[in-house]
């Protein structure tokens, strides 16, 4: 059915098939829980013989996401992030340790990407989000005004727990890294609670595997493939994958608003690619997926060369792909299941698809 095919085409992550057969299927039940936070759904599937204990630990992990949402939400005026955004201009303010850590990580990726990743881009993103909701397309003046508030170099972290903005209108939005941080915190809590086989999902865009599902070497994740031809996959075990893609374009044509904005230009990113990133932590995969989408394959490859345990794949609608990275693997099953490529330090593939 056409809709089903197209729905799959939209997925950030398509399907995980985890065969659970024989004894294990009967002896290891799974618990599945979900919670709405940070504007998306967090879910955990855990295989555990002690269902009640696992359930309680999952609840604790999901509570942690809610706690972090209350701290890092820019929609909630009472959140620590909102308070900081109101009061840290030319004046240092104390912030919670988690928030400090996330901003610190953000700045790391801003430096690595020379500003392509920037958590201060919020004022510009908001302009384009309003356009997506039916509001007017931002004018050049609107953009210029908002862009004047952007710039990670104007964020000063003062150890151990203070922050100051050297701009009168700076506002941080942690949407491109906060989910990853929350997933890492969940994984810590689950492990500490004795959960050894679990799969964590933040809205389909960031996922993490703890241990392995019964009788398998890991949690197989089929990645977003805008071409529907390549079927890229990763097998998660104590690592994470995140996918970024610009908002799908309007069928009406014209200026297409989008939620990913280029900090330097203040305009929505125009790209043919979706990018998926595998990394040891969800914080890293989340931040890097946005960064590498903004950078594109050429600059992106160069950037991740220096990073251990990171692999990435860019795929365009017409099936053009670039795989790069080392330490972690992305598998490709292109037109034939027997053709398998994988990324490692020396093996990068940039190929054109077969024309059907």
């Amino acid at each position: 059915m056409r809709w089903n095919r197209m729905l799959l085409a939209l997925l950030l992550v398509v399907i995980i098939g985890i065969p659970v057969v024989g004894i294990s299927a009967q002896t290891i039940p799974f618990v599945h829980k979900k919670r709405y936070a940070m504007g998306t759904v967090y879910e955990v599937v855990a295989y555990d013989t002690e269902v009640a204990r696992a359930s309680a630990v999952i609840d604790k992990a999901l509570d942690e996401v809610v706690r972090l949402d209350a701290m890092m939400s820019n929609y909630k005026p009472e959140s620590d992030l909102s308070r900081m955004n109101r009061t840290a201009h030319f004046h240092s303010v104390q912030i919670p340790a988690d928030l400090y850590k996330v901003i610190q990580e953000s700045l790391r990726y801003s430096h690595l990407s020379d500003g392509e990743f920037d958590v201060s881009v919020g004022p510009v993103v908001d302009l384009w989000k309003a356009a997506m909701q039916g509001g007017p397309t931002p004018t050049v003046e609107d953009e210029a005004r908002a862009r004047a508030c952007v710039g990670y170099k104007k964020i000063e972290l003062i150890p151990p727990d203070r922050v100051e903005f050297h701009s009168p209108c700076m506002r941080l939005d942690l949407g491109s890294i906060g989910k990853g941080y929350a997933v890492d915190r969940m994984a810590e809590i689950l492990r500490a609670g004795g959960v050894e086989r679990a799969y964590l999902n933040a809205g389909g865009s960031t996922m993490y595997g703890i241990g392995t599902p019964p009788e398998h070497a890991g949690w197989t994740v089929h990645l977003r493939d805008p071409s529907n031809r390549l079927d890229p996959q990763v097998v998660l075990t104590e690592n994470s994958v995140s996918t970024s893609e610009q908002t799908a374009p309007s069928a009406l044509g014209g200026d297409a608003p989008g939620h990913i904005v280029v900090p330097a230009s203040g305009k929505p990113l125009r790209t043919r690619y979706a990018v998926s990133v595998v990394a040891k932590s969800a914080t890293a995969s989340d931040a890097l997926s946005t960064t590498l989408l903004l950078l594109g394959p050429e600059k992106g490859e160069a950037m991740i060369k220096g990073l251990p345990d990171v692999a990435a794949i860019w795929i365009s609608r017409d099936g053009e792909k670039t795989i790069a990275g080392r330490g972690l693997h992305i598998f490709l099953k292109a037109d034939s299941p027997s053709i398998v490529e994988e990324s490692n330090v020396e093996n990068k593939a940039v190929t054109k698809p077969k024309q059907n």
Partner: protein, 479 residues
């Protein structure tokens, strides 16, 4: 410009038929071990035929329940006979694969043969209402997980109910669904109070009847007077009570909408309609035969999924000339507006300027419902977006006008089952805004802000279901 005032009179004799103000909750049970109906707060029980032992039905009746038997086309006649013999009040007919005209015919025939029984048609395709990001199914030992979108996905029954309303306007839509029990804990313990409450709130908000499977464990617990079971059910009863609170005699509801979806094909139009519901675009479903000028007052947009007749093309053309927006989805033909060149055209769409309105032709069916709904919002623009919710991605809001008092009711359903602040923007001015909920009772006064012809207010914490009463600033003529 055709700025159809959202809360303007919605057509005398128009397509938006006034409806009885509330539906009902039916409980589907597997045994007669139950407390009395009064204690349950629900009086309609459904048994699947064959029941096994007729004494169960008599026992249920003795406990104060109105008993219905569920039948399929193959056993309708037998079930109806049994219902009469056992003092059941009616039969719920699951028509299965029968098409709508065949099922109507079967029902008519059964009704004439059993005049004392009440026959209700079960609409197929009901879903468990829920928020989800993935599917998890346990089938032949396979766990599958998929993510339709990074935003929360809401499975609702609004599209189903609105479609049923259009095609059987005289009947309250009735649907049911199966709880997903693949999760080990849920299988053992059954749905939670929140799950039941969500299903009840949803049916109430959509003005439909719903059949809920009562988990066997809960049923036993209630019958044996177990404290845990009663704690759960007493929470659920608050939602049943809220629903009942609306059943004042003579009170009728009219759905308020500024978008009409023209279709006679549920399958083709479903995904688009479903996503418009999720985006809180107030809509009604119109049959192609409803496309008459007098029936379109108050609508700003028509989204057409079924090929229009020549007469209907003229109606669409006139609708656009008066400022309306017409969207044709994957329909080809020699239309009147083709006498002019489109003002914009790309591979996916062509836009024609017609009078003070416009007609948009999409070249393909709805491929991405999310993009489609966003495009509908963009076409409508902010001024004609009669209802908007901010930061409430898991909430569906459904507005009604209450007859005869003229009050506007906004029903809210939060599929996340967690308290969420809901920011609402609604077209019009109101003298008072009151919020009613199962947790807070009736009613909390809400302070609004008025801006550019809209009223904005915040519901501080919508948990599962709630209702906003908006009293008009000036008296309006009774419809």
């Amino acid at each position: 410009m055709r700025l159809g005032e959202f809360f303007s009179a919605l057509l005398l004799g128009g397509v938006l038929v006034a409806q009885p103000a509330s539906g009902k909750v039916f409980l589907k049970v597997s045994q007669a071990e139950l407390p009395p109906a009064r204690a349950m707060g629900v009086s309609d029980l459904v048994f699947v035929w064959p029941v096994g032992n007729d004494s169960l039905l008599n026992k249920a009746s003795a406990l104060g329940y109105r008993v219905f038997l569920e039948a399929t086309p193959g056993d309708l006649s037998v079930v109806a006979d049994a219902a009469e013999k056992t003092n059941a009040v009616g039969v719920i007919f699951d028509a299965g694969n029968l098409d709508s005209s065949a099922s109507e015919e079967v029902l008519r025939s059964a009704q004439s043969a059993h005049a004392k029984l009440s026959f209700l048609l079960l609409n197929p395709g009901g879903k468990e209402p829920q928020m989800k990001a993935r599917l998890v199914v346990d089938r032949d030992g396979i766990l599958q997980v998929s993510s339709p979108t990074s935003q929360p996905w809401v499975d609702s029954n609004l599209a189903l109910v609105r479609f049923a309303r259009a095609f059987r306007p005289e009947a309250i839509p009735l649907y049911s669904f199966h709880w997903n029990l693949s999760d080990a804990l849920r299988k053992k313990l059954g749905p939670t109070a929140e799950d039941y409450s969500l299903a009840i709130s949803e049916a109430d908000a959509f003005r439909a009847d719903v059949i809920l499977d009562l988990h066997e464990g809960l049923q036993k617990g209630l019958a044996h007077n177990e404290a845990e079971a009663w704690a759960l059910w007493n929470n659920v009863k608050r939602y049943v009570a809220l629903q009942r609170g609306e059943s004042a005699p003579g009170m009728l509801s009219m759905p308020l909408a500024n978008t009409g979806i023209v279709t006679n094909n549920y399958r083709v139009s479903y995904e688009g309609i479903n996503m418009m519901a999720r985006h809180n675009i107030p809509f009604v479903v119109l049959r192609p035969a409803d496309l008459e000028a007098k029936r379109l007052d108050g609508l700003d947009m028509l989204v057409v999924f079924s090929a229009p007749s020549i007469a209907a093309c003229r109606v669409l053309d006139d609708f656009a000339k008066q400022g309306g927006i017409v969207v044709l989805v994957n329909l080809r033909g020699d239309f009147p507006w083709h006498s002019s060149e489109p003002i914009r055209r790309n591979v996916q769409s062509a836009v024609y300027s017609v009078g003070t309105g416009q007609i948009v032709e999409f070249a393909e069916p709805v491929i991405d419902p999310e993009v489609f709904s966003r495009d509908m919002r963009r076409l409508m623009g902010v001024q004609r977006s009669s209802l908007s919710l901010w930061n409430s991605l898991t909430t569906i809001a459904v507005p009604y006008r209450e007859k005869p008092v003229g009050e506007t009711i906004l029903n809210l359903v939060n599929y996340a089952l967690e308290p969420e602040p809901v920011q609402v923007q609604i077209n019009g001015h109101f003298s008072s805004i009151l919020y009613e909920s199962p947790e807070g009772g009736c009613c909390q006064s809400i302070t609004p802000i008025e801006r550019d012809g809209f009223t904005e207010f915040v519901i501080p914490a919508l948990i599962i279901g709630g209702r906003v009463h908006l009293k008009p600033t000036v008296a309006r003529p009774q419809l």
